[in-house]
Assembly symmetry: D2
Homo-oligomer: 341 residues x 4
Amino acid sequence: MAKVSFRNDYATLMHPNVYRYLEDKLDVINDAYGNDSYSQSAKQRIIEKFGLPETTEVYFLAGGTQTNMVAISYILRDFEAVIAASSGHINVHESGAVEASGHKILTAPGKDGKLRGEDIDEVMRHVGDEHVVAPELIYISNATETGTIYTKEELRSLHDAARRHGLLLFMDGARLGNALMSDENDLAFEDIGHYCDAFYLGGTKNGLPLGEALVLINPVFHHRFANHIKARGAMLAKGYFVGMLFDAILQDDLYFSLAKHANDLSSKLQEALKSHGLNPEPSPTNQVFVQVDDELGKALIREFSCEIWEKNEKGYILRFVTSYRSKDSDIEALDLFLQAQ
Amino acid sequence: MAKVSFRNDYATLMHPNVYRYLEDKLDVINDAYGNDSYSQSAKQRIIEKFGLPETTEVYFLAGGTQTNMVAISYILRDFEAVIAASSGHINVHESGAVEASGHKILTAPGKDGKLRGEDIDEVMRHVGDEHVVAPELIYISNATETGTIYTKEELRSLHDAARRHGLLLFMDGARLGNALMSDENDLAFEDIGHYCDAFYLGGTKNGLPLGEALVLINPVFHHRFANHIKARGAMLAKGYFVGMLFDAILQDDLYFSLAKHANDLSSKLQEALKSHGLNPEPSPTNQVFVQVDDELGKALIREFSCEIWEKNEKGYILRFVTSYRSKDSDIEALDLFLQAQ
Amino acid sequence: MAKVSFRNDYATLMHPNVYRYLEDKLDVINDAYGNDSYSQSAKQRIIEKFGLPETTEVYFLAGGTQTNMVAISYILRDFEAVIAASSGHINVHESGAVEASGHKILTAPGKDGKLRGEDIDEVMRHVGDEHVVAPELIYISNATETGTIYTKEELRSLHDAARRHGLLLFMDGARLGNALMSDENDLAFEDIGHYCDAFYLGGTKNGLPLGEALVLINPVFHHRFANHIKARGAMLAKGYFVGMLFDAILQDDLYFSLAKHANDLSSKLQEALKSHGLNPEPSPTNQVFVQVDDELGKALIREFSCEIWEKNEKGYILRFVTSYRSKDSDIEALDLFLQAQ
Amino acid sequence: MAKVSFRNDYATLMHPNVYRYLEDKLDVINDAYGNDSYSQSAKQRIIEKFGLPETTEVYFLAGGTQTNMVAISYILRDFEAVIAASSGHINVHESGAVEASGHKILTAPGKDGKLRGEDIDEVMRHVGDEHVVAPELIYISNATETGTIYTKEELRSLHDAARRHGLLLFMDGARLGNALMSDENDLAFEDIGHYCDAFYLGGTKNGLPLGEALVLINPVFHHRFANHIKARGAMLAKGYFVGMLFDAILQDDLYFSLAKHANDLSSKLQEALKSHGLNPEPSPTNQVFVQVDDELGKALIREFSCEIWEKNEKGYILRFVTSYRSKDSDIEALDLFLQAQ
């Protein structure tokens, strides 16, 4: 029998509702390259949900690294840089995609995976002359790579820093659903478009087989963006397919229900770990990191599918991720297992 | 009622068999990034069908422009070039994706959309010193952008030219099914891998919602190719999804049956046009180009979905494309329409 | 004894006046990176000579390929292209430098090495949607790669085409001195800045050991251009050195006298060739192309340093170039030699 | 009167011997693009001085940033990275030139501006899968950006780490003369080529108007390198000019005498500072960093040309640089000035 999986949030194909949505679309004739009614409908759902200006442009791309690279490389010239937290996905887990597109990432240590206004000030203290790259854009993830989220005050402060230094603000929303559905979240949907110049809503990690909706609010992103998508190899001939996927998952707020479900199971998972004397990093979203000793680590890895985040002298830091398809019984299995140790 | 469509071969979502294949996969836990059993199975189907060495690597990417850019930019250094026919897709319809990845395309006029050994000789006559880019790779499409196909003799001759000049040969197979299933085709499946260093098998234009299977035969393509895919933003987290799509469509040679179906309807379409005194370019595959006068052109465009390839002094050159979902009734509707003119 | 050389116009180090100018500068303390008084003086000389706005920016770079790449890559985004004649230096003799910086060159055959307004119209007929690169810039050379020059009418017409299509116009002036000092030239110095958005004045081919003065008139080139120069590796720490070189050669119009000298000797050379029954392409500048038969070709190559432009069935097309250091005696030697054949 | 300058080592044009060397070369006819006898002679001088294999290739480029970018971008593919100290010139003062050429820099804090074998081990601990860039090259500077130098033991240890991880080692030698002529240096000339795969010998900061000699020992750098130089805009038509410059300054070890002179005056400068109670960072080469209080800082900046390295709460860290043209009287002037405070 397959192990219970807490490996990641992209291990199962797609939510059944999304699958069923496609059933009667198999024989429909569609316009290509995203100029179809499903993409239009999905776009309108996003604009309405986030209270965005009607001039907002939305493009449906395949994956997160691609979306980051496409958005960032559109804005930056060859002497310009993007600022990110050292732990930012673009800095550590994208095989140098931003640099391969010709641009430097300037990093700041940040705090809990998040950039603060003061980090931006510090980075900007060192720039200015022609020998140093000129930052133009700030990249943040919400939820971050370690599952933390931005408070309204933090996002506002970062937005103010961006404006203070003439920078744009881009939010990687591969897990934006988890962030906004967190019990600890105090950001309104409208705040995202208010504070960010562009962001994306990730489908891959929340119930779609692929797809990220890139939302371009600031008109500085609006000149021939489709041309740029094509030049970076990211244009899908059957753009309507990803349009359909998003149209399906945005119906009746399914996207956000699924994210909330993953968060709820993460809370239960954290409770289960704590009830057995473990001490997970408190996580407001669906990623849970916990230090365990060597013996327990080995046992957990044997019984469950989860990720070894770090091997250290105390044993292991393991990452458990819940997703739209996680079940109460998954947590119960973990609970039983820990009880038996 | 929707117009009968001869617009292109990517206007409908996917073949029903592919859709049904996915149904019982919705809740399966998969390894990410292409390291899954479905991708493995699809890869083996390709290796067997084309009689390729077991060392062959196969990667499943999202679209054709992306696959061209990923394959070409892997091989070329910044001073190296790819040779293509002037009409090659990479030269005219990819928004400069190859150049955006840092490489020049050297073009030759070719003949009927095809490169010949003598074209390569001519291009190579002008290169050599450090002021001129150094070609390393030949890019061809089969079927070509205008629906023609390579004969065995032509492919062999091009392969010989490649070896003569120390070049690699890469085949864009966005419509490889149509080429190989053409009544006029004399290439065996084994010939593709025998004469080419790499090629791809296009899913987007033959029944899949997206997906191209990039087949890397020559080991010169095998060093950390996945790293390169990621760096170009082309890695899918749910790689197993495209693996499943190909596994589905390669079952029972469905892929090739669909291509044959499109070709057969193209033959009928050509017959219908000729029976009404029109003179389409003879096409061995599923794209048909026909010159019509101004009045007939306008009428056809009004009644059918097809593409204006060129507006000229004689009227229009129209492109009609058949696909896996074209029906006999589509051709009959066109026949009836032409009869009534 | 060394052969008399008509090989090229960059075979000797520098004009003696330039050398002598440097003598008393050896121990002067200068500001680096071009922020020095010599660069400032040279810039002012150019602004005055060409009647340019005081807002014009001038940067002193090392070589022609570098200057082309730096100027072009500053303006273009990844989905944008530069239009050039097929024979343009950037297209054939720069080892793909423009493409290595990420941009496509769209070519037109042109006429006599020159682009015409109608060539631009033709190129622009094929662009427009997101699948095709978007031209933003026209590249021309004056004098061209084959020694021809633009008339005022031709340049105006090209400028009009540029404005008609929303394109910028950039002039490669590696041999601008030769063009403007040609007996056939009808362009005023003021016309260059009037019709072009940017151009450069080449030093390498007219008496300097290196150096091209890149003149940026249109403010679209003015945002942090020095940052871009640095990012492309083209910033010189001792920028004042190239500033001095230009300051020296622009004194008393030495630059233009040298170009005129080269042109005058080219006229004499053409006369000499014709007086012996040869039929050089009429050249208004310092490059002369002449078809000779096989025997004469071999003899000329043995006795003189010149370039084999093409080996063909009639024998050879040879290129003879005169320069600032060519002497009457060089022509006389050629004349005597031809007489003896 | 001009201030006594300790601003940098590239503020004066060139050493008089270099200037005089050129005098009788003004009218010599040379082969272009580095294929000349002077470049050949300079290359041989370097090969002999450093005891390098005869297969070594040497290219003469214009500046340091360019040389770093050209060497690094030749070796790396788009998914590969170079490892550098955080303080490395390529990371902080090249306007993103390495990234603009498409490559990530992975940084380690290092110690005293130097990378250690253990730094490489630590960086390599985090790489391996396809989501993380693959390091291929280590970049070090000797002397470093802060004037420190590598001991033989340190270089050997770094070389061992490189071999252990399959990496190449590249040394930025913009100030290699100062490093090798330092009283504290224990590296033999032969050690450079023994431990490094490539390095350069900087001319700009040691008596030439421009020029860096890029020395490529490992044959992995030897395939069409000139083509790459051209593609990056770094090829000089009058390559013989930089060849002459290096031929001149390598005669009678002038290059190394000049570096030693700069170092000697740096020692005197450090003595002078210490004799007045100041506490400069001990420097084995020609860059001296000293913390001074606010008042003294302002006075020094007013009277001398030097660089403000950092403004901090204690006052200023000033950088004083000596060069080939520094004089004893410069130090005496500083000594007198400090005495008067």
